[in-house]
Symmetry: C2
Subunit: 411 residues, 2 copies
Amino acid sequence: MAPDDTGAAEVLSRAGAADATDPLSAYRDRFVPLPDGVIYLDGNSLGRPLRRLPELLGRVIEEEWGGGLIRSWDHWELLASEVGDELGATLLGARPGEVTVSDSTTVNLYKLAMAAIGARPGRDVVLIDSDSFPTDRYVLDGIAERHGLQVREVASHLDEGFDVEAVEASLDERVGLVCLSHVGYRSAARADMAPINRAIHSSGALVLWDLCHSVGAVPVDLTGTGCDLAVGCTYKYLNAGPGAPAFLYVRREHQAQLRPPIWGWFGAADQFEMGASYEPRAGIGRFQAGTPPILGILSVREGVRLLAEAGGPSGLYPKAVALTAFGLELADRWLVPIGFRVASPRRPDRRGAHLTLEHARARQLCQLLARAGVLTDFRTPDRIRLGMAPITTTFTDVARAILRLAELAVP
Amino acid sequence: MAPDDTGAAEVLSRAGAADATDPLSAYRDRFVPLPDGVIYLDGNSLGRPLRRLPELLGRVIEEEWGGGLIRSWDHWELLASEVGDELGATLLGARPGEVTVSDSTTVNLYKLAMAAIGARPGRDVVLIDSDSFPTDRYVLDGIAERHGLQVREVASHLDEGFDVEAVEASLDERVGLVCLSHVGYRSAARADMAPINRAIHSSGALVLWDLCHSVGAVPVDLTGTGCDLAVGCTYKYLNAGPGAPAFLYVRREHQAQLRPPIWGWFGAADQFEMGASYEPRAGIGRFQAGTPPILGILSVREGVRLLAEAGGPSGLYPKAVALTAFGLELADRWLVPIGFRVASPRRPDRRGAHLTLEHARARQLCQLLARAGVLTDFRTPDRIRLGMAPITTTFTDVARAILRLAELAVP
């Protein structure tokens, strides 16, 4: 049933009340304001800039770079690992020395996948979940083509993702590495890491998690759930900017055994001695390659610190659950009756912070929404993603977006 | 002979006169001013920030990222290749569609070396000049270890670098790739690309040039000299900032044959269709991997545009020659008599824009210079590099630095 005026008013009033008591509401002022009339439900694709970032980067440019000049490398040198530690402690449940900020998610995935494959000689199969982000699949296919490996899929349910049984069904003694998305980029399905990691370890393989759609939105406990390797980006829920450097995680116990494929001077021990032969650094630093992007890493630090101030996952996750539950309720009420299908898990503990709706005219509806100022994401073949970054999204945003979508889609 | 007051005064007066007629002098005001008392001869390690960069990045953060939000990807998507084209046309003698800005030099070197090796199956030797930058050697050693190749050296003279005869002496039918530095990071020796490229091509190998220490300082003609592949960084003479994204060049005629090793979504055709299998983009874009760092690429664009405004290599190179010749003259007069050795080529057409001096106490002298506000670079085992970025360095800087070095080193 399409929303009538009374129904809409009642929902908007409830949304307003939820916003008024939202403990995160004050953080919205820390971001560059949205343009008038824009509702932004795409923070899971590109997060929003912190208001203080221009001034902060300006000061770094003028003082650290322009004033300190080459001398600033004395404190920049370890910045990637320092910010990695902050990120790891705040949002990933990692221990010190397990996370660094570097390169892009794609390059980090390549580095860790190559290292893992090298650490499991004789195992010639790599597993990936069938609904993983394209770049993950591309990276593994590229490695497989070059190195004579085979990529096999863990069957992923369109809406619900994969569970431990699905992973187990694909595991055998040929599998050396399993690469999985913690939260699916299309469905928002969230995997249950601990039992999946146990199953993978029982078969002797290593696991590499892609955290792009979970970090900063849902709890991640890399240590407690026994993860081996992980990568993720910082330009979604971490708000570090378009193409900001990504991060990688290597469990402490594995670091000495894993050889990075790209041997760069920032991964070398005694790098400024510039010796003739490469000796990798002792810890996570060996997974650095080239010169780290300082301004980008500082933007990551700002994003991480803001989320830390907001309470980290324990501050953010309850709101992610509440926003997506609210969105689900409204979708069921106003969208499902007019031809939409909810394509995200209904159980909050299996969901990330976005909600996906399937509709035959999804691509067109997404464009019409954008013209109306409601920015969402289209994902092939027929899905609209409503991203609900907990730090910036209001309940009113969700209600207005779904009301607008119902208006646009009415048959 | 140590500089007496009269000699010093005469030289400083000549330097002042040269600065007064320097056609590039106005460009110094375009940079964030140096701290009081600092002489900066390390722009070949980290260039200086443009004064307008804070405001420019601030505007991009607020308007394009904060205001345009995800919609800005419509024009950011091809930014890396657009800026690559500007860089290529202005400073590299490249044709449109041959250069892109991405990743770090290390990662780009890895991508191109792996692609080149893949294009020369059966050839199991990679050559590198023996005085190349450590990361270049590390990258090739890493590839060799993993892929059962052998890295051999082109014998590079300590001061003069390598010539075509040295390269020819190392070439045989086993060599698939030759990786060379255009300007040596220690000696400043500059290679003569055209005959070297011809020799390499005669033997059936591909050549990959590292341009880190030449781009923005000396002329580079990738098309005219017949280069196959090149990489370089933007944080030295291009002034794009610490860890700013690097660039890569692939000659148009080779692009379709070369397969990048890291298959990422930004290198895929129809990337936003997110198809199940990777199909590389048609042109240089296939050598992109992950999401490009937009703020970094815009900083590269500013650096390139400033050098373009200053006349590109025809504006910059004559001053590089004059500065290094002046430095050489003063070194011969005041430093050689007290125990220094000039460790850079004396012929200007074989030299980059820095000058290297060898001294038994080089490490300590470099530190003493820094304490006196003269920032240079120490390079193992016993060399001091005086970087003379033509856009920002004055003749007075060079004279004062060498006078100070003479004072500090007097036996």
